[in-house]
């Protein structure tokens, strides 16, 4: 009964019915969103606890590779549990305007968990598109002229990405004749040619629009400064990571050659350079954070381009770290939305917020003992071990980016603690509600700091599991329509035989 398909089906069902429900009772409609998110959380956590071994679920009861499979391993279930969690924290409880925004948020949640779980290339594309369209709606929800213009540019860039990704999928289909990721993995040797590799490049650039990858991230500062901070936090924190996850899956399963890794490495380095330099030059907090998020995602990409498990560990660590820190920082801009100069005196007006900013900033820079330091350490050791000229260049880029990051973040922090004009300082007051949300992220960060050792072990385990190509393929092909417990025992028997 407990089926993971509910994490996709329930939010979509609720979103479809919301217009009708809100017509009859507005107050009932308000409760549906959080309730559905809680249910999603319950389903994914239940699976997360039960999971000893990765399993694949055949949707529609058709055996892979014919049907679509959901791939359940620690990484995908982790993401599937984070989605409702982070959306519950960022849910606009107080100032939800109408059912439309709520609908869009639920659709975003459903498509995001579909994206995290899906094991089929075209299905990933469909969920990615659903995610995109929902995020366009949310980005324009402010309804200012600037928001419309920014969303339009975002939509055009995203649309281009869609075309490129679809072309890539078409190329893969012409080369292999299949869409299931595991099946593509089995036929990976057929993709080791110009057509296959350019398919990967096309998909990376296409999906990379959401992942804020270097050449297609022009929309980032505009959308994040015109959308409401919650939406920016969701897009920068959660959605970008899901897009990265898709690229990582494709990389692990089908493209283990050096060309694909080099592509990611170069794009990541360019992203770091461009993002951090622009963040350094920017004069207001929102744009600074947007550009810094581009830089951070560049680092994530560099981490995943390190071959083997080392890269996977570093990548996942960087990803999760950014996922916690960036939403917290973006929520600060709810009231601190002015230029950096106007932030003077912010610490006096709401001291807690300033402390939280310092905490996030220090972790983002990678000052020990904060979690960001350990993530960056993993990345640095990974790069040193890879030890080719290109990876060492990436190391140099990373280290100098960290210096730049430290400069602009600390510069901002110093501004906050300097004296400001009284009239302006009053405006900088953060409401208790926003502060609570931000503190949630801070608490998660501090918990991570305290439980660093077990967390590290768990990460190693997740990374080992998700960088194992053979495991992914075997899991998918073992998928039958049998209850999960039976499947697990079945896989165990199979692995004993082998």
């Amino acid at each position: 009964m407990n089926n993971i398909a509910f994490t996709v089906a329930l939010p979509l069902l609720a979103a479809f019915l919301l217009p009708i429900i809100s017509n009859s009772s507005k107050s009932a409609a308000r409760f549906i969103g959080p309730f559905v998110l809680l249910a999603m959380l319950g389903f994914s956590l239940a699976y997360f606890n039960m999971l000893e071994h990765p399993v694949a679920i055949a949707l529609g009861g058709f055996r892979p590779p014919l049907g679509i499979t959901f791939h359940l391993d620690n990484l995908s279930l982790l993401m599937a549990s984070i989605i409702p969690l982070i959306m519950l924290v960022l849910w606009p409880y107080a100032n939800i305007e109408g059912y439309r925004e709520e609908s869009l948020l639920l659709l975003l949640a459903g498509s995001a968990s579909g994206l995290a779980l899906s094991g089929d290339l075209f299905n990933i594309y469909v969920f990615y598109e659903l995610l995109s369209v929902a995020s366009f709606g949310l980005a324009a929800a402010n309804r200012t002229g600037a928001a419309f213009a920014a969303t339009f540019r975002y939509l055009v860039m995203s649309g281009l990405g869609t075309v490129l990704a679809l072309t890539g999928i078409g190329l893969i289909y012409t080369q292999t004749g299949t869409l299931n990721l595991a099946h593509i993995g089995l036929l990976a040797s057929q993709l080791n040619n110009p057509a296959g590799l350019s398919a990967f490049a096309l998909i990376v650039i296409g999906i990379g629009v959401k992942a804020e990858i270097f050449p297609v991230n022009g929309w980032v500062p505009e959308v994040y400064s015109t959308a409401s901070p919650r939406i920016s936090a969701l897009l920068a924190g959660l959605i970008s990571k899901l897009a990265v996850l898709v690229i990582v899956r494709l990389l692990v399963v089908a493209y283990q050659g050096p060309e694909a890794l080099t592509l990611l490495l170069v794009l990541g380095m360019l992203g770091i350079i461009w993002g951090e330099l622009s963040a350094w030059r920017s004069k207001d907090l929102k744009r600074m954070l947007s550009f810094s998020s581009i830089g951070q995602l560049g680092m994530v990409l560099v981490a995943f381009s390190i071959p083997g498990e080392a890269g996977m560990v570093a990548g996942i660590a960087m990803m999760l770290h950014h996922l916690v820190v960036k939403p917290g920082l973006f929520m600060l801009t709810e009231h601190w939305n002015g230029s950096l100069n106007k932030l003077a005196g912010a610490a006096k007006s709401s001291p807690l917020a300033a402390v939280l900013f310092m905490l996030f900033a220090l972790s983002l820079i990678g000052v020990p003992p904060f979690p960001g330091f350990w993530a960056k350490l993993l990345l640095v050791t990974g790069l040193v071990e890879a030890n080719t000229p290109l990876y060492l260049t990436a190391l140099a880029v990373l280290l100098s980016a960290t210096v730049i990051e430290a400069h602009y973040l600390m510069h901002t922090a110093i501004r906050m603690y300097s004296k400001g004009k009284k009239k302006q300082v009053k405006k900088l007051h953060q409401t208790p509600f926003t502060l609570t949300i931000i503190s949630v992220f801070a608490v998660v960060l501090i918990t991570a700091l305290i439980t660093m050792a077990p967390l590290g072990n768990k990460l190693q385990h997740i990374a080992a599991e998700s960088s194992d190509r053979a495991l992914y393929i075997n899991t998918t092909f073992a998928a039958r329509h049998t209850p999960v417990r039976k499947q697990i025992s079945l896989i165990k028997q199979q692995s004993k035989v082998q």
Binding site: F122, Y125, V126, E129, S132, V133, F136, G137, A140, R143, T144, G145, A146, F148, A149, A150, T151, F152, R153, L155, V156, G159, L160, T162, V163, L166, T167, I169, G170, L171, Y173, T174, L179, P221, E222, S225, T226, R281, K283, D284, L285, K286, R287, N337, G338, S339, N341, K342
Partner: protein, 161 residues
Amino acid sequence: MTTDLIHWLLYGGAMGLIVIGIVGVVTLNNIFRIVLALAIAEAGANLLLVIAGYRFDAIAPILTGSSANQLMVDPVPQAMVLTSIVIGVGIQALALALVVKVYQNYKTLDIGEIHQQLSTDIDNSSGVISLLSSEQPAGERPLPEPSAQHETAQLNQGGDK
């Protein structure tokens, strides 16, 4: 020879549509035309998918009495194209709605001008003075007075709410 030509025409046609669309999106200035260019590129990608499932001398994958042992084309790309066409329709409708709203707010369809006004708006809303900004308009057009700009921005924002 002729089949080679046909091969090349089909694939070249699909790729050509994609390229035409993309060139259109990146070079055109009118936002309405950009939406159209996007539609062309999407059509190219869809065509590529359909061709991927094509076979010579094959029939549509529908089982009727007479089609028992005939070769059929691949049904999977057809289902995929169906999906992607519908997705394209949704995105284009949203894009057109945004075009209308952008035009109503900025009174122009030129993407360059829209970008210009957008960054001014963002600058104004965050209180960064545009004259100090590094994103000055390249070229001859002088910037309006900062105070005037501020007013128009507030007007714009006030009008939308």
